[in-house]
């Protein structure tokens, strides 16, 4: 099942309609093992919807997703064991400290206590959350960036094969962003596969080796960075070419200069 040619993560014809709006329309993307895929698209393009269906948070109208060949919707328990997930903007058990959250998570995932404790301590330290832990700061009191970081720690704690991260860099300060990038590189160097969604092109270009562009629920391009970019100078140019952009003309918004 998990031979090398099986994609680490495969979105297969994922389709979802919300109140007659097609949020995802036959989304198919295959991510080879060891790759880092950037999923980019404008706001409301269907990135979060597609990723939610891929990790088991949202049941698709049709299509499915596979993690290392295991069907997320037919064998969720097996598939979820191989995945680490960071959703965007959701709540956590708000009245736990970061350490308590990881302790809860480790036990829930069935990790032995000493493994949980060592990994949790290391994660909190690397992500610079150890100070907050010493002060007993609850997740409810965390800043947006700290929430991202503790979320990332939960995604990493059980050492998954595939990481699916929705907007991991949002609200994270530049220093923490470097740490985050280093963690992701370490993860892929060890054979792990990463999928991140973002609308920051420069970040995706710098971090990933594969990219998929999605707009209005449809995949417009999917491949290695070079394949997708083609003759364009930057990924942003490709993105604008594919998605289309409203140009700001000479006379528009003239009042801004007044």
């Amino acid at each position: 099942m998990t031979s090398d040619d099986v994609p680490a993560l495969e979105l297969d014809g994922l389709t979802k309609t919300f109140n007659e709006t097609r949020a995802a329309d036959d989304v198919s993307i295959a991510v080879p093992r060891g790759a880092t895929l950037g999923l980019v698209g404008p706001n409301g393009a269907g990135k979060t919807t597609s990723l939610s269906m891929a990790v088991g948070l949202l049941r698709p109208d049709s299509g499915t997703a596979r993690v290392l060949g295991v069907d997320v919707w037919r064998d969720p328990v097996e598939a979820k064991q191989r995945m680490g997930v960071l959703p965007d903007g959701l709540s956590l058990p708000e009245r736990l400290t970061g350490g308590e959250l990881l302790d809860y998570w480790g036990r829930l995932r069935g990790l032995p206590r000493d493994v949980t404790r060592t990994r949790a301590e290391e994660l909190l330290q690397v992500l610079e959350l150890d100070g907050a832990e010493r002060d007993g700061v609850l997740v409810a009191e965390f800043s947006t960036g700290m929430r991202k970081k503790i979320g990332l720690a939960t995604a990493l704690l059980h050492a998954p094969d595939v990481l699916v991260l929705d907007e991991p860099y949002e609200a994270v300060d530049p220093v923490s962003a470097r740490v985050l990038t280093a963690i992701l590189r370490r993860f892929t160097d060890g054979g792990g596969t990463v999928v991140i969604s973002s609308h920051v092109m420069a970040l995706v270009e710098q971090l990933t080796d594969r990219v998929a562009i999605i707009a209005e629920g449809r995949v417009l391009a999917d491949g290695t960075l070079g394949e997708v970019r083609g003759a364009d100078a930057t990924l942003e140019d490709t993105f604008v070419r594919l998605v289309g952009a409203r140009e700001v003309g000479e006379g528009d918004l003239a009042w801004l200069n007044s």
């Binding site: 919300f18 109140n19 706001n43 409301g44 979060t48 990790v55 088991g56 948070l57 949202l58 049941r59 969720p76 328990v77 979820k80 064991q81 995945m83 997930v85 959703p87 903007g89 959701l90 709540s91 956590l92 058990p93 708000e94 009245r95 736990l96 400290t97 350490g99 308590e100 990881l102 302790d103 809860y104 998570w105 480790g106 036990r107 829930l108 995932r109 069935g110 990790l111 032995p112 206590r113 404790r117 949790a120 301590e121 909190l124 832990e133 010493r134 002060d135 007993g136 609850l138 409810a140 009191e141 929430r147 939960t154």
Partner: protein, 552 residues
């Protein structure tokens, strides 16, 4: 700006459901009719004066408690306007002004117009006093209402505030269950009321209440003492002004940090710092530990738990001072039942945090999640209601009640531990997501859970309760305790099993309900037919109000 805010409120109102609003409107209209009946049917000026004072005090009470009980009051939230370059107090004033728009304030104005009628009937020269009093009363009541509601919201920032909010809820709930004992003498006198009016201490007490002051002003004017008349009205005016100013201040957007402030490390938070753990390294241990901490530390959960204990305590006090002393020893049992009602939306309380359970789903996770929550619930509800029972029995000296209290506690602990979880899963209703919560009723709506529990709790406990009645009649009430134990344990086990099997089948749908709100969840629910649980899910979708802004 005020006009703009009012239009925004009306636009938002158009997008919300009507359901419970209709019921409250009917109640208010009936109140208006009753107030006018009392004003017109009174046989003398003096009788009318007393009756109006009572009626106006009740109106003020309604305005004070109403917004807390009904959901969705905070339509225009102050924090929406935090970033606008406007004076914060002007935003507060604008928001207060919007509170006067609507059918409720309009009908209240019709009711307070009885003061003008009273003035006209007592002495036409005092009419302008009556008209001024009418307007001041409306402003006072509506401002006070917003004041109390915001104060409750602000209360969620501190431990003592949460305790006050719990006490207020306790009073409301105990009043709903046993308030009739207090009101009943008043009702039995209602036929003679329009003839004889109110007498004695009631009048003295009422004359202290500010809503009575315009009536007293009119009475003074009619008696010729205009100095006293202006004094009463002036006092009302001054109080109204102060209330408005304080309310404006409270309604102004706040940028202070949210959540309960602490000075020290929270209890039991040293898991990584070498602290001992008494819980097993299993998913079940994980859930029990998390749940106990959440119940202990989350002000919104704390509110449910404490309000229930206050309700029990107040019911006990009603029993001690009222005409039905038999209820006093059952204070703890009552508290336990109310904890059960409040806990019936646990997954709604947790909001989108359910994603952890979804993406972390292992072979045993969902069973552990349900059983762990049951255990934590029982660990908190059991000892606290037992302790309250002990106090109540000793205080009332009703030792005859001990076997009844024990049987009640045992059977209801099991039944509520089962029913709350099943309802929490099937009828899950999200509130404002936990990390964005501000107001006291921002946790999800649970009205359908409450109604169903009120019917289902006695039904599910029927074997034990039946045995208790039989054994009581036979003079051996202790015989019911083992039956209660079996009944409770079986209910907890079966209902809990039903809950985690349901979750097993519909985990993504449950998350969808929380994450995407009503409309999307209705797509995923079985359209018609299905079992009892499917019908219940549809019922919750149709009845409970979403106070959550739907996300993208």
């Amino acid at each position: 700006m005020v006009e703009l805010l009012i239009r925004l409120k009306i636009t938002l109102g158009r997008h919300s459901s009507v359901g419970t609003r209709f019921l409250s409107l009917v109640m208010i209209a009936l109140g208006v009719a009753l107030t006018w009946y009392l004003a017109v049917a009174a046989t003398s000026d003096q009788v009318r004066s007393g009756l109006l004072m009572l009626a106006l005090a009740v109106w003020a009470g309604g305005w004070l408690l109403g917004p807390t009980i009904t959901n969705g009051v905070g339509v225009l939230r102050a924090q929406y306007f935090t970033l606008l370059p406007l004076d914060r107090n002007r935003v507060g004033a604008g928001l207060l002004a919007t509170a006067f728009v609507g059918t409720g304030p309009l009908l209240t104005l019709v009711a307070t117009a009885t003061v003008a009628w009273h003035a006209w009937a007592s002495d036409p020269a005092a009419l302008f006093l009556g008209l001024l009093g009418m307007l001041a009363l409306l402003v006072l009541m509506v401002s006070l209402s917003r004041l109390v509601f915001r104060a409750l919201g602000a209360a969620m920032h501190s431990r003592i505030g949460m305790e006050i909010a719990s006490l207020q809820w306790g009073l409301i709930l105990a009043g709903l269950f046993f308030g009739w004992m207090v009101v009943q003498p008043a009702f039995s006198a209602v036929s003679s009321l329009s003839r004889e009016g109110l007498q004695g201490t009631v009048l003295t007490v009422l004359s202290v209440v500010p809503t009575s002051w315009p009536v007293l002003a009119v009475d003074a004017a009619a008696a010729g003492s205009w100095g006293a008349a202006f004094g009463w009205l002036g006092a009302l005016g001054a109080l109204t002004l102060v209330t408005v100013l304080v309310t404006v201040r409270l309604l102004a957007p706040s940028v202070a940090p949210r959540g309960v402030r602490r000075r020290s490390r929270p209890l039991g938070s040293r898991v990584l710092l070498g602290g001992r753990s008494f819980l097993p390294d299993t998913p079940l241990g994980a859930v029990v530990g998390k749940e106990l901490r959440q119940w202990w530390r989350d002000p919104w959960r704390g509110l449910e738990l404490r309000a229930a204990l206050w309700t029990g305590l107040i019911i006990g006090v009603f029993g001690l001072i009222g005409p039905l002393p038999q209820i006093a020893p059952f204070a703890g049992v009552a508290a336990l039942l109310v904890i059960g009602l409040g806990g019936a939306n646990m997954y709604g309380h947790d909001g989108t945090a359910l994603w952890l359970t979804v993406v972390g789903q292992g072979r045993d996770t969902l069973r552990a999640d349900v059983r762990g929550r049951q255990i934590a619930f029982a660990l908190l509800a059991g000892p606290s209601s037992a302790a309250l029972s002990l106090v109540a029995v000793v205080a009332s000296g009703a030792y005859w009640a001990v076997p009844y209290v024990v049987s009640g506690l045992v059977v209801f602990l099991g039944v509520t531990a089962g029913l709350t979880l099943l309802l929490s899963v099937v009828a899950v209703t999200p509130g404002v997501d936990p990390h964005l919560r501000v107001d006291a009723n921002d946790a999800g709506d649970n009205q359908i859970q409450v109604w169903i529990s009120l019917v289902a709790l006695p039904l599910l406990s029927a074997p034990a309760l039946g045995t208790l009645v039989w054994a009581g009649v036979q003079g051996v009430p202790w015989l019911a305790v083992p039956v209660a134990l079996a009944n409770g344990a079986l209910a907890a086990w079966l209902l809990g099993r039903s809950a985690h099997q349901r979750l097993e089948k519909r985990l993504p749908e449950t998350f969808t309900r929380i994450r995407y709100g009503k409309a999307v969840a209705a797509q995923a629910a079985a359209g018609s037919g299905g079992g009892l649980l499917d019908q219940l899910e549809r019922g919750a979708l149709a009845t409970n109000v979403d106070i959550k802004p739907t996300g993208s």
